[in-house]
Symmetry: C2
Subunit: 656 residues, 2 copies
């Protein structure tokens, strides 16, 4: 790595990071200002709920809600913008999630699963917040296993109504955002029954409160109460006691019931229908990955600005010169805490941008492309898992890196940590999602791709032929070129050679996935019980998903740098990318050693390289977090906004 100083073109970098929906980012930056949107802490449950709902009402007056909805109802039909708008609400993650519930989940389900009459009847009020609503999928006993939901919707042809019912406590809707206080209607996911037959999970619109806010007859509403974070969101529980709704309330894009009770669907296969319906709701998962990224960025911005100026312990002077305390970000240990996390945050940012673009393109495509859709779902599952785990780990590290100051609510890190903590397990539990991704890798996106659970795969395994795919990311030709230019796998290749790095991660993924396929097949051939065989390999399954995502993120990073219009800035980003990939390799170097992809001396050199990259990037750390373009008033933390500079008598770098 060259040690010469690089000039970072801040405008260029900001533009690169802002990406395709830069105008949305700018809009939100402009919108979320002043006391009304300032981060808060220490509010009571009710105060926080009030504040968040008031903020949401203010957003409802802007065109932010319109992005995700069709032009036919006054929307903007710009799905990408809706996801980017969501992820920018980092001033208070309660607002982010409340918005996601109202316009992403509730409105999104009506949009995706309903038909034009539902759109016309409900979506305008959804957008304007006249009709606050819930997305009632999860049940107390059924979290990850959506296919096994217990709520029933039984069609009664005599009255042309559905009877929505909660048969037992397991089937109670739980953790439902907007349910405890504000929601007036819910999209309820239930097992559809008609003419004595079960047709699987479908969604219906069920009014839960009247105009006065009183629960509707037969609807029991509970309050989940205080949570670790996100207390501005009123999560609640819903139970239905034979609640009747008109036939028209079935969101019937993928399954409808005629007045006489005859069921019909454009998708014959029940399993496939279920996963098609679920697939249309993928935006929520992608949004969460983006929101996690924003939370990590905010935490890093706070911790890195603080570490850049906070000083502790005097540096001994060898030559008897004047002593001054050392800035804590000058310590290698501190760099090691924050800079690899920053590098990964950059990589995840580019991967997210790519994923949002794909989602957006698919939403505009005139015909549904099954293969592309499934690839999108797998990518979304994987990115959501790695991005949210990364956020949780990173914010935790940032808290610790700020010591006691990081524990004070005024410095925002506690709230960022607590609020985003649930991201790892809602909108799909990360462990389940990684398995879903690996399953897709194993089955090469074949039609048989199905259930969300690991067991679906276990069932599927018997007798199938596995085939591994290394699906390329957007930058296919570029990546191929870089790999082709790599001088090989030998010891002599520079650790900083991008082609070598790309090939190294690709080779690891391929080996892990192929090894897993072989292992599963063999165990089955040897007569192993399907569940046991799969369960014994579960750590291997999760590793495969992780390895895949490491490669995907690297490729997106490389493609992102390729779009950078300033060569000096691009060089700097290349160093950040080196730090990302070499810290990935360092973390898993046991694997590379075990599989003889790295010699012992080369593995040690990787650790050394990570140290050197940390040192080399340290002078740019503050600029690199400032490029995220998070407003100072969203960061709010006094330790990030000049308090420490003032105390230390250090000049404060100029910012927005």
């Amino acid at each position: 790595m060259s040690e010469q100083a690089l000039r970072l073109d801040e405008a260029e970098l900001r533009g690169l990071l802002d990406g395709r929906w830069a105008h949305v980012r700018e809009q939100v930056r402009d919108l979320l200002r002043g006391e009304q949107f300032a981060p808060v802490h220490g509010l009571s449950l009710e105060e926080h709920r009030d504040r968040t709902f008031t903020q949401l009402k203010a957003l409802a007056k802007t065109d932010l809600p319109t992005y995700g909805f069709p032009e036919s109802v006054g929307g903007n039909d710009d799905v990408g913008a809706s996801v980017v708008g969501f992820e920018m609400l980092v001033n208070d993650l309660s607002l982010m999630v409340k918005m996601g519930v109202q316009w992403g989940l509730f409105g999104g389900a009506i949009n995706a699963l309903g038909t034009e009459r539902h759109h016309a009847e409900y979506l305008p009020d959804v957008m304007s917040l006249e009709l606050p609503g819930c997305y009632a999928m999860t049940e107390t006993g059924h979290g990850s296993d959506v296919q096994s939901l217990g709520t029933t919707a039984t069609y009664d042809p005599d009255t042309e109504e559905f009877v929505v019912h909660t048969p037992d406590e397991s089937a109670r809707k739980d953790y439902i955002g907007n349910a405890a206080r504000d929601g007036r209607m819910a999209v309820v996911f239930a097992q559809l029954r008609t003419q004595g037959q079960e047709h699987g999970v479908h969604a219906l619109l069920v009014p839960i409160r009247d105009e006065q806010g009183e629960p509707m007859p037969g609807v029991r509403i509970g309050d989940c109460g205080h949570k670790a974070g996100l207390n501005g969101v009123d999560n609640g529980r819903l139970e239905f006691d034979h609640v009747r709704v008109p036939r028209a309330n079935l969101l019937d894009r993928y399954g409808s019931v005629a007045p006489d009770g005859t069921y019909s669907s454009p998708i014959e296969n029940k399993n496939r229908r279920f996963f098609t319906m679920l697939g249309t709701l993928i935006r929520g998962r992608i949004s969460v990955a983006g929101g996690a990224g924003s939370a990590a960025k905010a935490a890093l911005a706070i911790a890195i600005r603080y570490g850049d100026t906070r000083r502790q312990f005097t540096r001994p002077s060898d030559d008897g010169g004047p002593e001054r305390e050392v800035r804590i970000l000058d310590y290698l240990a501190h760099q090691r805490k924050l800079l690899p996390a920053l590098a990964r945050t950059y990589g995840l940012h580019f991967a997210q941008e790519e994923l949002v673009s794909r989602l957006h393109e698919l939403s505009l495509a005139p015909e549904r492309d099954e293969h592309a859709q499934r690839e999108l779902e797998s990518r979304a599952a994987g990115l959501k898992a790695v991005a949210t785990w990364h956020a949780t780990r990173t914010i935790q590290t940032c808290r610790e890196a700020c010591g006691g100051a990081g524990y004070m609510s005024a410095n925002r890190l506690p709230q960022l940590k607590a609020d985003s903590d649930i991201f790892t397990t809602f909108e799909g539990d990360n462990t389940v999602l990684l398995q879903q991704l690996t399953k897709a890798l194993l089955t090469h996106f074949k039609d048989s791709f199905g259930d969300l659970d690991q067991l679906g795969l276990a069932r599927f395994m018997a007798g199938k032929v596995f085939e591994t795919v290394i699906e390329r990311t957007a930058a296919r030709p570029l990546i191929d070129r870089l790999i082709a230019a790599s001088p090989g796998r030998g010891e002599e290749v520079s650790l900083y050679n991008r082609g070598w790095q790309l090939e190294l991660l690709e080779d690891r993924e391929k080996h892990i996935v192929e090894g897993l396929a072989g292992r599963l097949r063999k165990a089955r051939k040897d007569g192993g019980d399907a569940f046991e065989v799969f369960n014994h390999a579960q750590d291997h399954v999760l590793n495969a998903g992780r390895a895949h995502m490491d490669r995907v993120v690297l490729e997106a990073f490389v493609a992102g740098i390729d779009r950078c219009g300033d060569s000096s800035t691009a060089k700097l980003l290349n160093r950040v990318c080196d730090l990302y990939v070499l810290s990935v390799v360092e973390e898993d170097r046991a694997w590379f050693l075990e599989h003889e992809r790295l010699s012992t001396s080369r593995a040690k050199a990787v650790t050394q390289a990570v140290n050197e990259l940390c040192r080399g990037l340290r002078p740019y750390a503050v600029q690199l977090v400032d490029a995220f373009g998070l407003r100072d008033e969203w960061l709010a933390a006094p330790i990030a906004l000049g308090d420490e500079h003032a105390r230390q008598g250090d000049p404060l770098p100029a910012r927005d």
Copy 2:
């Protein structure tokens, strides 16, 4: 590993874990019952502070506060009991910390740094809580670097008073427990000046509030406000504007000032005096390690009980038999999240017991043993660091393992996580503490052992000869015997051979420490700047401390099992110990590969063994957490107390 079923003698195991201060644990179990001590959540700052202070007053009426104080003032002189009593207050960590501030830090400082007249005058009121107090060490600009505190205490011989003063914002006392609301007096650490000379940091008693609770003249009190957790503790800030206190208020065991201003001390060397004074306060650090252990135990108890009964996804039946959903703790991925953490929690428990015993023995020794004292300080530094990081990681994992339920405050995990989060950075920042430990390893506890910072070592390095020590833990003869019985280091030795395991960890530690010493020496010989040389090796320094602690914990674990009176239970504990050590090896297997301590096939076998141990221990997991003896009402979480059992129609195992 034998797969045969083992019988766990619950009483025996409980007795083993309760250990030497079992009577204190029983006392606290008896004491903390009912509504008054029940965990709470969602309180406002003031409500929580009220509640915690009220609880503390109730504890003041028991003999819990007396343990840590001398018999001369009505105390019990049982330091070990005071530490164990502290760690048991897991019903609400705010109470734990508030108690620690009052009786451990405030009272402990008067006890350790004061002389008999201070004891007689203040300690009875400290114990009874007539005199609530603060431990005012940390300053806004001086956290880890205590030696550089800015507060001054200047002696004025004319009035025979000390003038306590805060020269600038950096010197403001910060994060001080008991300061914002309840404290009436503070032990203030300040730079002592008399007759124009500086004598380093000393502690003085400074009244901060009058009987009516109003700040004393010249004392400015701020409120740190809302924090991530521990909101029952009123942390505040203190600034002194030339506040005068009588000469007698100097806690003068290690340094006194005559009426005319003449300074004298039993310890000539200023540096040594400082570290001696600090060393007497080591109990706080040891207590925090214990408290972290309790928090981790509580979280594991909740998550493991829940995982034992929570079901998700139906197991496909190969033979067409009846299907039932799988208990989530039967999934390998779930076992991998929780069981290695449980095994390490056991290891840390035994290491903590050993450390507390040492502290206790030293407190009773008629003569001060410098070598033993420094060993204790190093061990405390290391154990505090690894135990608190383990707790933070483990509680986070437990939260995720409980999904949405784990995010609900009612299920306690959020509060446990938020409250214990600060443990990693208070009472010594973990990163700084690990360096302190490594420094001690490098210097063989030589006299020159000094400052807390890494730079102290950098200064010290020039020209010194390093010598590595593998200090043995309490079980010296047993460990030696086991290592001697190990059949060697070859491939053929069972991974479960304890002697081989012990030698493996010992060898790693020795290699890392010696390698570090050599590297530092060489770099200095080559003319490197002391700070840069040390800073470049900082990751190596931290690894050395971690490797040392891994071995220390293993040895304590082995010694603990040796005390088990039931052979079947001991066998089970040996499996738990195997899981601990093999997951340590797995985590760092890159190192063992890089240094050719493990072959690639043996490294893979370690991963396999961890999987097998998880499966083998899974049936005992609930008994293993129940043995911690945490009352159900402290766990409080409905998901751990039968809610989930009831819903699933599963029988609830009998408990207290």
